[in-house]
Structure formats: structure tokens, C-alpha cells
Amino acid sequence: MKNKIMTAKEAIAGIKDGSSIMVGGFMACGTPEILIDALVEKGAKDLTIICNDAGVPGRGVGKLITNGQVKTLIASHVGLNPEVAQRMNTEDPGEKLECILVPQGTLAERIRACGAGLGGFLTPTGVGTIVAEGKQVINVGGKDYLLEEPLKADFALLRGSVTDKFGNTEYNGTTRTFNPMMATAADYVIVGTCEIVEIGDIDPNNVVTSGIFVDAIVGGEKPWQI
């Protein structure tokens, strides 16, 4: 079987200027910091980042924003990272950040739809609001819904708690958030994980992300220290 265990630097080697990257987690809880750190070091620019939020300064996606690597951020909430507003409003085109806001449930479902081979889904969320602009409204059973389309990425950076050498992964607590859907919706999936175990060590009933989705496993992820 192919070895998937590598260093963070090796794992992210394919990320280029302009790549689109899904990043798991919610306010950086469930974000693989070691992979983010490697990406900061690499310095790839003009990235499109798909993440629930902008992390916070100094954590998660926040580090990429601070380092000026993000051109477009697709997220549901950016309020805990004041740097986002600064960069959205800057006149300097090199520093300018485009921010596309998506309702959180719609964001999760769009990522899932991509991974699940669906062409889209009908959601009641956003009907009658600016979120509906440019979208088809479809009536089913007398109720209006927005047609929302799938969302994919070149890479996904996930954060696992326990991962076996095949890539089967468990997530602890609320670190699960966006990670499992993102595993299915990107061309190349990297898991930064806290613990690497042998194949067979995880009960097949408790695996959350199948190793078939995982291209690279990077150990050494730590719960973020308060």
C-alpha cells in the first residue's frame, strides 16, 4: 500500500499560487495548524480559501490572511478577525481581500453536495435576502427554495484527532465541524493529525472520514494551547 505519511512541507508541495483550498475547523478549533504553518512558510499567494470563518489573528486561516496570501475568502462569518475588514477595505490591490459570505448551513451543504456528486440542492435559507441574488428560485410543494450549487477545491487541509496509516480518521469534540465534508470535495486531501495509529486500531463503526479520501497524513498536530 502507498505510504501516505509525510512532512507538512511534502504534503503541501503541490499547492501553488492561485490554488483553492478548503480548511477545516470553526474559529480555528479543528484547523490543522501545522499545515497552515507550512503554507505560511511556503508563501503561496492569491489563494482562494474556503473555511467557515477567518480564524482569529495568529490562529488558523488568520495566519494566511495576515501573511497576505489570501485573495478570496469564502466563509460564513469573519467577525472574530478584524484584519479581514481592513483587508477588504484597502485600496492596495496587492493586499485586497475579496470576501464571499455564505450562510453556514449552505456552505456545509454545498461542500457535501460536491463530494456526493449532486448538482445542487434546494434550501429555504436565504430566500428573499441578498443571498438569493443571481440564484434560481424553485418552488416545491408551494414553498420557495434557492438552488445552491456544489463547491469544490484543489486541496483540503483537515485536522484529525486519530488517523490510521490508511487515512481513516476520527475527530474529537467540535473539531469535527467542516472536516468530514471537505475530505470529500477536494482533489488532494491532507490530514494534519494528533495521533497516527496502525490500520485496524480504529473501530470500523467509529471511523468518520474514510482513508480513501486521504492523500497525505501529517503527524504532530497538537490541540491548540490556551
Binding site: 474559529m27 478549533c29 460564513s76 462569518h77 467577525g79 450562510p103 456552505l107 456545509a108 435576502t129 467542516f178
Partner: protein, 217 residues
């Protein structure tokens, strides 16, 4: 001010029934959990992936893998469950949350809600709010009746909508209102205020319930 918020949270808490699945927004709504009658146990849903959220984690005992939707370290109760975001919003949109309590910038007589964006100001994003108000069986807005004297309860929202026709109830320091097909009905008035005062503080016609009661602290 603290007293007014406690008053609002206390009143909202009475709307929650034993066994209800409830999602509480950040800020004032979060406080509602502190005012539940002791025979009422609700199940808190946190949209980042918890069913059965418990109180904030004690300092020094935080599990950094467990946060609430406000990025605070929390605990979970016995019988809790963690899930991913697609599952979480399936629960929310699917009508499996009995009530959500949120703040608002504006609410109008149609039950339209604006609570996520002020054009020209810093945009923080809608997060899970748009899904929550569309999906929850009951949407309770808890807020101060006016914003520095400006009306927040209106004929028509002037700020961009979070969602249309979703608000069921509004609880402020002045009273308790229900949104009906006919408009906003005042069900309870707090004794600190007169009918004229609450009407003046409201930007749309208030229908006075024939069964108007005093709002209790």
C-alpha cells in the same frame, strides 16, 4: 442595563419547555439558560457541532477541542453528541430545533428579520443565523426595544433581511409581542412602562391583546 437584560432573559426562559432543543445566539440569548425554572431541562444545540451543550468550561479545565459557536470553551452534558456541520444544519433547517433565541437590529410587522448587516459598516457575516431563523420551529427575538432611541420594531425593515416572515415572538424590556398575520400583537406590558410609551417606542402599529397581561421580572 444589566437588569433589563436579566428581565428579558428571564421572560424568554419561560417560553422554553422541558425537553426542548434550543439554539441560543451569542450575547443576551446565551444568558437565557441561566434563568430556566429548575424543573425545565432543555437541550442546547450549538451549530458548530454539539447536541447537549453544557455550561462554560471552568478555567484551567478547558478541553481545547470543545468550543461553542462563539469560540468559547464549553462542556457537554451527559448524553451529548458531536456532529459535523452538514449534520448540524440538517438538524437546524429540518425543523428539529424547537426554538432559537437571537438578537436583532430590526424586526418588522411581517416577521421579517434584519440582524446581520449594516450597509457601509464592517460586515461580520451571517454565520448560522439565516439557517437558524428559517429552520427553528419558534424564533424568539430578545433585544432592547430601541437602539439609542431609534425604532427597531418597524412597518418594514430598512436593513437587509436575514430572512423573511420568520419571527414568532419579540421579548424586550418593555413587553412581549407576538407576530401574527394581522401584525404585531402586544401580549404583555412591563409595569415600568405605559401603553403610550411602548407605542411610541415602536415603529409600527401595535395591536393590543384583549388579554394584555403585565410582564413579570
Amino acid at each position: 442595563m444589566a437588569d433589563l437584560k436579566a428581565r428579558i432573559a428571564t421572560r424568554v426562559a419561560k417560553e422554553l419547555k422541558d425537553g426542548d432543543v434550543v439554539n441560543l445566539g451569542i450575547g443576551l440569548p446565551t444568558k437565557v439558560a441561566n434563568y430556566l425554572p429548575c424543573d425545565v431541562h432543555i437541550i442546547l444545540q450549538s451549530e458548530n457541532g454539539i447536541m447537549g451543550m453544557g455550561p462554560a468550561a471552568e478555567e484551567g479545565k478547558e478541553d481545547v477541542d470543545i468550543i461553542n459557536a462563539g469560540a468559547q470553551y464549553v462542556t457537554v452534558n451527559k448524553g451529548a453528541m458531536y456532529f459535523d456541520s452538514a449534520t448540524s444544519f440538517g438538524i437546524i433547517r429540518g425543523g428539529h430545533v424547537d426554538a432559537t433565541v437571537l438578537g436583532a437590529l430590526q424586526v418588522d410587522k411581517h416577521g421579517n428579520l434584519a440582524n446581520w448587516i449594516v450597509p457601509g459598516k464592517m460586515v461580520s457575516g451571517m454565520g448560522g443565523a439565516m439557517d437558524l431563523v428559517v429552520g427553528a420551529k419558534k424564533v424568539i427575538i430578545s433585544m432592547l426595544h430601541t437602539q439609542k432611541g431609534a425604532h427597531k420594531i418597524l412597518d418594514e425593515c430598512t436593513l437587509p433581511y436575514t430572512a423573511i416572515k420568520v419571527v414568532d415572538m419579540i421579548v424586550t424590556e418593555m413587553g412581549v409581542m407576538e407576530v401574527t398575520d394581522e401584525g404585531i400583537v402586544l401580549k404583555e406590558l412591563h409595569p415600568d412602562f405605559t401603553l403610550d410609551e411602548i407605542k411610541e417606542a415602536t415603529g409600527c402599529k401595535l395591536i393590543i391583546s384583549p388579554d394584555l397581561k403585565p410582564m413579570q421580572d
